[in-house]
């Protein structure tokens, strides 16, 4: 589904990685490892199409992602360091706008369900301002359930989550992959995904 050939990235004058290549099929997960400042986030941003690589290209279903930008926009969901949650909107409104901006159908019952599944049913009516960091992370992640995207690109999805939260997200990712989805993640915490084909790459020296 997603393949990468000969990818290279520079930030400033520093070369982060070079000649990176891998291929992901349905039902596979990619775990990107590497220390701080090694280029994990840069790689994920390149894969999502937010930044361009110095060399090489990213292919989605055999096509460069710039050529299939529209389709890739529907098929891919990206969650970066920031949660993209607006303080002045409620979690439900946040999810609604997020879906509309990505051109996706929105069903509010389904959204309430998704929020409940990540343990947020009690704060659906509150403005996001009142939520803690971990709770906002959960709101952002619950958007994944509504997106219907085939490919998930998650930058440190477990940051700020408590033990319950980590377990819920693990289950979420697991069921996505089990259903034939693809996931790409970076994480410092150990992630348990039993029975899932995992590819690990490390970036940076």
């Amino acid at each position: 589904m997603l393949s990468v050939a000969d990818l290279a990235c520079e930030r400033g004058e520093r070369e982060l990685f070079r000649n990176l290549a891998f291929e992901l099929e349905k039902g596979q997960a990619l775990l990107v490892r590497g220390g701080n400042g090694r280029g994990k986030t840069s790689l994920l941003r390149i894969l999502s199409g937010l930044s361009s690589p110095t060399a090489g290209a990213v292919y989605w279903r055999g096509q460069p992602i710039e050529a299939v930008r529209e389709q890739y926009g529907y098929d891919m969901a990206y969650i970066g360091h920031a949660n993209a949650i607006k303080d002045d909107l409620t979690p439900l409104e946040n999810l609604q706008f997020a879906a509309a901006l990505r051109g996706r159908q929105f069903d509010s019952d389904q959204a309430v369900e998704a929020l409940a599944q990540l343990g947020l049913s009690h704060c659906i009516e509150l403005p996001a301002r009142a939520l803690s960091f971990g709770q906002r992370r959960r709101v952002a992640l619950s958007g994944l359930m509504l997106a219907g995207a085939l490919l998930w690109i998650l930058d440190e999805p477990l940051t700020g989550l408590d033990i319950d939260g980590v377990a819920m997200v693990e289950k979420l990712i697991y069921s996505h992959i089990a259903a034939g989805g693809v996931a790409i993640m970076t994480t410092h915490q150990p992630l348990v995904l039993e029975g899932v084909i995992q590819i690990s790459i490390s970036v940076g020296g």
Binding site: R45, S48, G49, L50, S51, S52, R69, E70, Q71, Y72, G73, Y74, M76, Y78, G80, H81, A82, N83, A84, I85, K86, D87, D88, L89, F97, A98, A100, L101, R102, G103, P127
Partner: protein
């Protein structure tokens, strides 16, 4: 496509409504700057009538620049901008929607306040009408061109001052045609020529500015 545009606009308007304080600040800035001029140059009615259109227009430029700094900045900080850029729709549509929202939030109130301020400067009724008309054509240009500056200075130190430096020179034609239209109405030389030139500039900005803003956003977010 159209639904996406409407969503972008609706989202920004809703956020502005939820944060009324910030929005009111920009409008009061406009009123205050205009009211400072008579205190500076003296209350002579004939003098005020001459400088009135220019003062209102220059203040409109400044008020617009004041709010432009935050056009993309908030969304950039909390990560929503990345999500919007990844949407399946063209990014220039996003830039157009953002500029449109900025105009609805900041430009339209300006149109409503301007006649009151014009009265303070003793402008005749006909000139007031032209003032509103020129602002109605001119302020969307300010939002569109300003969007380019906001995108270029995204996340930079001192972005607020920088955007003024970058964009104010580009506002010169709007200021000249806008204030000129009102003066033309007052002196009897007519304001049609000014207004149609302003309209032409608006059409051009509509065609080019969203596209350049989208390129600038891509450069800044990368």
């Amino acid at each position: 496509m159209l639904r996406f545009l409407i969503t972008v606009v609706r989202r920004d308007v809703l956020l502005a409504v939820r944060r009324r304080g910030d929005w009111l600040t920009a409008q009061f800035f406009f009123v205050m700057v205009v009211s400072m001029f008579p205190l500076g140059v003296g209350p002579e009615p004939s003098m005020l009538r001459v400088i009135g259109p220019g003062v209102v227009w220059v203040s409109a430029l400044l008020a617009c620049l004041l709010s432009l700094g935050r056009l993309y900045a908030d969304d950039f900080r909390d990560g929503s901008l990345e999500q919007m850029l990844l949407s399946p729709y063209p990014n220039s549509l996003l830039a157009l929607g953002k500029a449109l929202a900025h105009w609805i939030i900041n430009g339209i109130p300006l149109l409503l306040i301007a006649p009151v301020l014009g009265i303070q400067f003793g402008l005749p009724a006909e000139a007031l009408l032209i003032l509103v008309l020129s602002l109605a054509i001119g302020t969307p240009i300010l939002s569109l061109l300003g969007g380019i500056g906001a995108a270029l200075t995204l996340g930079l130190r001192g972005g607020g001052v920088l955007i003024t430096l970058l964009i104010l020179p580009l506002y010169v034609p709007v200021l000249i045609f806008g204030a000129g239209a009102v003066e033309g109405a007052m002196s009897g030389t007519g304001s049609e020529a000014h207004l149609s030139l302003l309209g032409a500039f608006l059409v051009m900005s509509l065609l080019i500015a969203p596209w350049i803003s989208s390129l600038a956003l891509k450069v800044s977010v990368e």
